[in-house]
Amino acid sequence: MPARFLPPALLALPLWLACADPDGKFDEFIRRTETEPQPDAGGPLPDGGLELPSAAQVTGTYLSVVSTSINPKLPVVYTLEVTAVQQGDELELTMVDQPLSYEDRMTPVGMKSAPRTLRVTAEGSYTEVLTDVVTPGEANPVLPGAPTRADTTFNGQLASAEIDGADGPVLFWCGSLTGRLHAPLMQDITGTFTISRIVDGVFPDVVINCAKDPANPPP
């Protein structure tokens, strides 16, 4: 190569190498989609009493809906048994959940969780950290058949819960979540959750956030 062509050739080399990087196509997609809205709690918290309900009001069986950024409209659904105990001006909640089939959102699949306890502050807020939780593949509506394993932190607000009448049972509360999915894909996740009381055995509508946006119907 004649010497005079060498400098421009060397200058062009980094450009050539840069063009060859497949990561460029990945980043290009991120740029194209970064204006899309990110998931959040999904609207204002419901207009509740803004006072912490009593233990008796909270205790009961609920439908728990967990919606993540992987596909917000296809949540994982559980029944959730909540037992509340008054602890001074706070509440102690003991919770047991049972995953439900993604196909009908009613049939239990897999094992019930072990009871876990969390503390709700006098202001009604709570944080629940669940690590290494495996959800059976039969409950996975996004990738049916594939079990998931995740660490998730739930941030709920019980003081703004919907209550049936003045002193009736809690009907609905909600919150947001963050976490990390370890399987089947490794991915940070964000999302929302809702907890709706099952009254007289009748399952409530499956809503994914505080704004009560409906989930997609099951397959």
Binding site: W16, L17, A20, P22, D23, G24, K25, F26, F29, I30, R32, T33, T35, E36, Q38, P39, T68, S69, I70, N71, P72, V134, G137, V142, L143, P144, G145, A146, P147, R149, H182, A183, P184, L185, M186, Q187, D188, I189, T190
Partner: protein, 462 residues
């Protein structure tokens, strides 16, 4: 075997590998099996330093000091018409998953080798990229600026490959000995192999091709491993007939290759990058050749190879350093370390080439060759990541001895893959396959061609 375990990575070899990899990764759409260096004289009975790669025993046929540099320029064209989709797109995204796309590119692919013969011994060294390619499928302009389905702009091949490259760069040291009474040469070689893979493709959390859930994943991994080769060459008719065969072990010898890297995913508005390992078995190769020189004016050649691609049953991605432990359905037997398992189930393949040279003068040569390469990739697992099919090839070239110690060869080889239509035959999305081993359908029509412009300079001293 990983870089830490490699026993065959001398400093010089690694330096050559690095230099070579920088060149080879520039090869866009350069195909897959690119072991064509030496042009029609690149075979198991060839008398040039590229014998280091094709058959170390043939080093005894080189000159006392022999250097060869191959400056191939590769052009490649690929065509894919995706005729079926696993999940039909909505009405406002018709054409997002089906239709035609192409990949066209040109790339340099240098190789070099040298040999030194003293008495009945010969030593050689070389650096080359027997497998190298980069493929970037064209996008779909119909979806340019579409904010509802922003992924569709990357074309109909995107569920398997948007842009990717593969490189197997090899640096070899070899030695040979000629047993004069038996007119037999024996040779062995050891190689350091740098293997690297990178792909970017579309991904839906549902592992189908649902455009409403479309995201991206980038998988990359690299490893340096050793391999060996051995061969023989016999000369039944002295100066007139040479018969040769060689064996090249798989990179990593016979153990599973582990390419450490990362998986980068974009899902639900967040990007994550995690350490990962690609698990695979690479093939070994058996080569053979017959070369006849009935007169000073003519040479005839018949040579080929048999490649055990059946070793490539899967390319499995796990979390870093975890085992790929999957059953026949591709389901993980235990644990949750599997990220993705692409079922390959390739078949052994073979190639055969026949050709000849005419020497108008003692310092000039014209040659031609015809060849056939069989198909390694079954209909069930073919996808636009790596194309293959039945291939026909033709080569035409010439060589001039410009100086007593310098000769120059120029040639063009065209390889045409016959069109394949596997509509309705893809099993990648078979519901019986476990979820993390499933991909969207690869159904459709495929074809490709390669053009190799070779310029080989040889410097010799006797």
């Amino acid at each position: 075997m990983t870089m830490n375990h490699s026993r065959f990575a001398p400093a010089l070899a690694l330096a050559l590998l690095v230099a070579l990899s920088m060149s080879a990764t520039r090869a866009r759409a350069a195909g897959f099996d690119t072991a064509r260096f030496g042009s029609e004289h690149g075979h198991a009975a060839g008398s040039n330093p590229f014998a280091v790669y094709y058959n170390p025993a043939a080093l005894t046929g080189t000159r006392r000091i022999h250097l060869a540099v191959d400056l191939s320029l590769l052009s490649h064209g690929a065509y894919y018409d995706r005729t079926e989709t696993t999940t039909p797109p909505p009405a406002d995204a018709v054409g997002a998953n089906t239709g035609e796309t192409k990949a066209i590119d040109v790339a340099p692919l240098p190789s070099l080798a040298a040999s030194f013969r003293f008495g009945d011994f010969a030593l050689g060294a070389g650096a080359y990229a027997p497998v190298s390619g980069q493929q970037r499928w064209q996008g779909n302009d119909d979806f340019r600026g579409n904010t509802m389905y922003p992924g569709a702009r990357d074309g109909t091949a995107r569920w398997h490959l948007i842009h990717g490259d593969i490189l197997l760069a090899q640096a070899t040291l070899a030695g040979a000995y000629h047993i004069r009474p038996a007119r037999l040469s024996l040779g062995v070689g050891v190689s350091s192999n740098l293997m690297r893979m990178r792909i970017v493709r579309a991904l839906a959390p549902s592992l189908d091709d649902d455009v409403s859930l479309e995201q991206r994943v980038r998988i990359e991994g690299a490893s340096v491993v050793g391999s060996f080769s051995a061969g023989f060459m016999v000369e039944p008719l002295e100066g007139k007939l040479w018969l040769a065969a060689s064996y090249q072990s798989p990179p990593g010898f016979y153990r599973e290759m582990h390419l450490d890297g990362t998986v980068r995913t974009s899902l639900g508005g967040t990007v994550a990058e995690n350490d990962s390992t690609i698990h695979q078995y690479w093939p070994d190769v058996l080569r053979w050749a017959a070369r006849a020189r009935p007169s000073e004016r003519y040479e005839l050649r018949l040579f080929g190879d048999y490649t055990r691609w059946s070793r490539l049953e899967r390319q499995c991605v796990t979390k870093r350093s975890h085992k790929c432990d999957v059953d026949e359905r591709g389901a993980e037997k235990s644990g949750t370390s599997l990220v993705n398992n692409q079922i390959r189930d390739w078949n052994d393949s073979f190639g055969v080439r026949a050709g000849g040279s005419y020497y108008p003068t003692a310092r000039s040569e014209v040659f031609l060759g015809l060849g056939y390469d069989s198909n390694a990739v079954p209909d069930a697992t073919l996808d636009p990541t790596i194309l293959d099919g039945h291939k026909l090839s033709a080569a035409l070239g010439g060589r001039m001895q410009l100086l007593d110690s310098f000769g120059l060869l120029a040639s063009y080889t065209h390889i045409q893959q016959l069109e394949r239509d596997i509509t309705g035959k893809s099993k990648l999305d078979d519901p019986d396959i476990a979820s993390l081993s499933r991909l969207p359908s690869g159904g459709g029509r495929y074809s490709q061609w390669f053009g190799y412009f070779a310029l080989v300079g040889e410097l010799t001293f006797d």
